[in-house]
Symmetry: C2
Subunit: 480 residues, 2 copies
Amino acid sequence: MPSDREPFVVVGGDAAGLSAASKCRRESDREVVVYEKGSWVSYAHCGTPYFVKGEVDELTDLLSLSPDEVDERGIELCRNHEVLDVDTEARTVSVAGPDGEFEQPYGDLLVATGARALTSPVDGTDLDGAHTLHGLDSAAGIRAHLLDPDTDHLADVGGEAFVDRERVERYGAMDPPETVAIVGGGYVGIEMAEAFSTHQCDVHLFQRGAHVLPPFGEAVAERVEAELRERGVTLHLETEVAELTGSEGRVEHLVCTGGTELDTELALVGVGIQPNTELVADEPVGTGPGGAIVVDDHGRTGVDGVYAAGDCATMEHAVTGEPEWVPLGLTANRAGRAIGSTVAGDPEPVGTIAGTGVLKAFDCEAGRTGIIDPDRAREAGFDPVSETVTAGSRSGYYPGGSETDVTLVADRNSGLLLGGSIVGTDRAAIRVDILATAIEQGATVGELERTDLAYAPPFSPVWDPVLVGAKVLRGSVEAE
Amino acid sequence: MPSDREPFVVVGGDAAGLSAASKCRRESDREVVVYEKGSWVSYAHCGTPYFVKGEVDELTDLLSLSPDEVDERGIELCRNHEVLDVDTEARTVSVAGPDGEFEQPYGDLLVATGARALTSPVDGTDLDGAHTLHGLDSAAGIRAHLLDPDTDHLADVGGEAFVDRERVERYGAMDPPETVAIVGGGYVGIEMAEAFSTHQCDVHLFQRGAHVLPPFGEAVAERVEAELRERGVTLHLETEVAELTGSEGRVEHLVCTGGTELDTELALVGVGIQPNTELVADEPVGTGPGGAIVVDDHGRTGVDGVYAAGDCATMEHAVTGEPEWVPLGLTANRAGRAIGSTVAGDPEPVGTIAGTGVLKAFDCEAGRTGIIDPDRAREAGFDPVSETVTAGSRSGYYPGGSETDVTLVADRNSGLLLGGSIVGTDRAAIRVDILATAIEQGATVGELERTDLAYAPPFSPVWDPVLVGAKVLRGSVEAE
């Protein structure tokens, strides 16, 4: 085992990588080197739809840390440096930077390479006007595309020191689209439907399955779909997009396998993401769900001294105890921080995930956690029972409340709470934290029902919608 | 043991009593008789400040069930019937109704007699213009007092079939007060400060202690006090009110022990409530904190066939396991329902309480749960460590967030989470449900820190304020 005087080398300068680097520096005087392939570091990916929408002024507002702040933490940050290869015997990585290639020795290595947008099986995504939303440069390109060509686009998007100027200027020169097609009804698709609508576009959303937001379940999907339609978004459900076509290198049409066509000047293709695991593809590192790198409770890959965290890695699921790939921001930050502590000499578990996610769609808000899909629950060895209730978010006599739909899933035998979702317009999303806490604690649905939740007319009825859901589900669990 | 064919008799027709009666009728064909001393039943006490404020239109909007709906459930409801005495040997109660006194046999008896407002040690509370807020008639009187004498007060307050007409007409005839004094800075005092301000009164709030809202702790109190002052409420802290004085039977002045005086035409005295336990005062029934009736995990008093629930009874505290008196709405409803199930033949525990409470003060909202006061924690055998953090409620770049103060308390030895409070303006109060769930599940502060809470810019930063608080507190717990 090499000395821990060898540097802690981090591949990837985003949430997981910089959380680990920062924590390690704070807790030790170990040398820390971060290689980032691009020019941006430590940015809030989840904020990009709101930047496109215009609620966030500039790209740089989305940075958690500027490169200068990273420097001040004593981290050696090398932007525009790609790590090409790793030699886990010699404990070195090969790095390609602006001044050529070199070998970097490491004591511990963190693979925090993130994920990339998937566009297949849609053809024609190389046309101008076909966007993905992954990273700040793509967000800058979309916003530039939406603005009037007379705008000073570089000033508008901000972040001139880092941004892909060519992309911003190219899209900025185009006329704003009248019709926008969104391919994929996941988080990004829904959030971007709101963003495009704010720019007065005619928005069409295409989803291959029967409903948007599959991980949230049907009760949430139906409310969100109703909200989207009410706001003028045209939904094309059970509709598979085959290709984008155009002329002179520009998107002009969208064609579906079933024959549906749409004239459109901007297509956002967000059919999924996939983990960037190429760096360790030849190493004896296991991959799990989604092809992500499997790690143990301390983020170790099984190869001595090699850790993985963030969107390229799995985490242990709180309900199943199995590796699960849920590429979300808190997971990356938490795992990175724990690994930073571990390599600094103070081992800290990376924790488990419940797969908690929340989403805003215009005035509608939704949250989900745990296992909602009955097939997933059965695969994990449970006998799922599910109930959906509709209850008011406030006392009926108090103004401003909203019908809130709560779906809860429990195991028939043990009563264990497996998952749930909440959707409504009044403090609905944040209530899913109640379920996430209960699930991480291994609560039964009966225990949830007896939990002393808050009650005051402006915030909740006597029986919070969560308690109403628990009551009904407990009845069903015990009845069968 | 008498037959369960003998009726289930309930004393008190509010939350606990009618929850028990309804549940028993739903689950069995047992005869159920409810005696209610007053003319109102099943009303939302917590809604009365919003009725006075005018956000709730009519008194009847605050009824969960009308007497007719109670009838439809097959419950024999006797309003204006006072239960004077109980003979637990003979299993009978003596009842005084409009047509005289009679004996009522019971198989099981539920004492759900509630609590009453305390006005001592303030003298002069018998003057007109000195109000308490306890029950719908007092709320109607205050609202009538606030309105112009030309108003049709009876029509305005609504509920003509039940309301104390004399009281409404007497206060309605008075000129609306220019200056209002609130004596006591608890829940009701704070909520009523908002209500009176809405009616353009000059509001003065007197609190004997150093801060309002003692159960919420200092961090909440300071934010709420700042909000009250900003909204024009004059706070008189560490100021003890001695008496109200006046002439011709009307309040005109308020006098404090320290010499402070105030001219006022309306004084709301809310220095506390006390449980109504007189009915069982001569029975071998234990009393605990606050003088409330001690019950076991099924709401039993220890006297065969006699149960107690709601504001007159204790509940087991989730942290200490000891009886605690926290007279709140959900507790009453839940305990009542469980007892209703038990006397119907399906025993159900009444559950525990965490003492969760939430409050709105203008735009500020606050929640508390568990044990916050360090002396209380030490009395219960813990070695409390406490931290307060201030963190944003949303990602910093997303508009509409609020500085949120989270206070968490844990035991130094075990790391067990004991209690906490949250205050802010953006979804702050409802977040206390996370803490309540964690506490009822016996979570440690480290487990709370690793909980997979929701993150999306409109709702939460990557690290929710609760997680920031847990991180800091875990550091302190482990450091010492």
